[in-house]
């Protein structure tokens, strides 16, 4: 690691001030991506601002038809939350399969979403559920938030504080994990929402998480796995690498989508 200065603000306001005072600073959430990145000297932020001492950012609450999850809630906390299990059980299941138990004790939903790793699980859920991202400055729809590989609409001095999920009729996420890394080769999140069916895919897009209109249309007539059988996913924009060709991943999208719908 390159040397850096460290701040651990106790409030969001202090964090905001620390960010403004240190252009180029990095926010540390659970650190399960940032610390490995620092260790490899792939980042040299000068200042690291640790958000772990701000208690307000960890709350998980249900208000009416919306589930609110603080950005610093860990994967283990989301997986174990009674409110999440009652409102969107598929989201708790998703959280319970991220990484390994130790990573789930540290990694956070906000860290995952702000990092927008193209193989991370949460972005697909946020996009399929039509989540709203709350920052210390504004709110953003998931659609507007994700902007390609490791890219989001967050400004340099903006802090993701909370994610709110409209509670859907049904939701599930199915992933085909790479057996070594456990990252999604393909992960598909499906939701039956008030605005109709939504399908979002992680792990497969050359430009990160994306929705699949053809699958959404197919589900409009009935939220059943069989409804997806006739849909072929084109390989345009689908990622190919040593783990799988675009054709393989495109095929997996259909398979994972059907599994997710069956599980929802």
């Amino acid at each position: 690691m390159y040397a850096f200065d460290y701040r651990r603000p106790a409030t969001l306001n202090e964090a905001d001030l620390a960010l403004k005072a240190a252009p180029g600073a990095k926010l540390l959430a659970g650190g399960q991506t940032l610390i490995p990145t620092l260790k490899q000297r792939l980042a040299n932020p000068g200042v690291v601002i640790d958000l772990s001492a701000i208690p307000d950012l960890k709350a998980i609450t249900r208000k009416g038809d919306t589930l609110h999850i603080g950005a610093m809630a860990t994967h283990a906390e989301v997986a174990g939350s009674k409110d999440v299990a009652a409102a969107i059980p598929g989201l708790a299941t998703l959280a319970s399969h991220i990484g390994d138990p130790q990573v789930r004790h540290k990694g956070t939903i906000g860290g995952s979403l702000a990092n927008n790793d193209p193989a991370a699980d949460y972005p697909a859920a946020a996009l399929a559920l039509g989540a709203t991202m709350h920052t210390n400055k504004r709110t953003l729809s998931a659609q507007d938030f994700f902007q390609g590989l490791f890219a989001t609409a967050l400004d340099d001095n903006e802090i993701l504080t909370e994610i709110s999920f409209p509670i859907p009729k049904r939701f599930a996420y199915a992933k085909f994990p790479n057996p070594a890394s456990l990252y999604a080769m393909v992960g598909v999140a499906v939701a039956e929402t008030a605005g109709g069916p939504r399908v979002a895919v992680t792990g497969a897009g050359t430009d990160g998480v994306f929705r699949v209109p053809a699958l959404e249309t197919a589900l409009t007539g009935g939220f059943k796995a069989d409804a997806l059988k006739s849909v072929t996913i084109p390989t345009t924009g689908i990622n190919g690498d040593i783990h799988g060709s675009p054709e393989y991943r495109a095929h997996l999208i259909g398979v994972m989508a059907r599994r997710a719908v069956a599980a929802a």
Partner: protein
């Protein structure tokens, strides 16, 4: 340098560290507690697992300064040579190791599994829960047996203590 204070195995310790100091470096180099190992240094292998505020985490992927004010338990804090923790005793009894390098992390993880999943653990649960701990010697069979037995023994100990 920044001052950090934490409770390590019940003892309050303070040190001046560089902000980039990892928790595992703090434990091994500053506290000379070398039972916590560095295996992969990339948060895959679990040789560095310790408990922070009661939860198993990978100390190679945690900053020491993030643990300011926290309670940290390492393998040295769970039992002694003459009075092993039930999970340590089970690893010895079932020979849940060969070279032993992964064992401290395995034991710290296993104690955490019992905290979360209880003392009656089936094989599938144990194997799934050991996802973050790699052993390159044993093929895991004896480790799985040791965790199941250790969990049972922890249940018996708790029961005895309650009686």
């Amino acid at each position: 340098m920044t001052a950090v204070t934490m409770l390590v195995n019940g003892k309050s310790v303070t040190a001046d560290v560089e902000p980039r100091t990892l928790l595992v470096q703090f434990i091994r180099d500053h506290q000379q507690l070398t039972g916590t190992h560095v295996g992969c240094d990339t948060s895959q292998c679990g040789a560095c697992v310790v408990h922070v505020d009661g939860k198993a985490i990978k100390s190679c992927t945690t900053l020491a300064l993030s643990c300011d004010g926290a309670q940290v338990t390492t393998i040295e804090g769970v039992g002694t040579e003459t009075d092993l923790h039930p999970m340590q005793a089970a690893f010895r009894e079932h020979h849940g190791l060969q070279c032993g390098f992964c064992t401290p992390g395995m034991i710290m993880t296993s104690i955490d599994i019992v905290r979360r999943k209880g003392t009656n653990l089936d094989e599938a649960t144990i194997r799934a829960e050991l996802e973050g701990n790699i052993c390159r010697c044993t093929g895991y069979h004896n480790i799985v047996k040791a965790v199941a037995a250790g969990a049972q023994a922890m249940g018996a100990t708790t029961k005895q203590a309650a009686e």
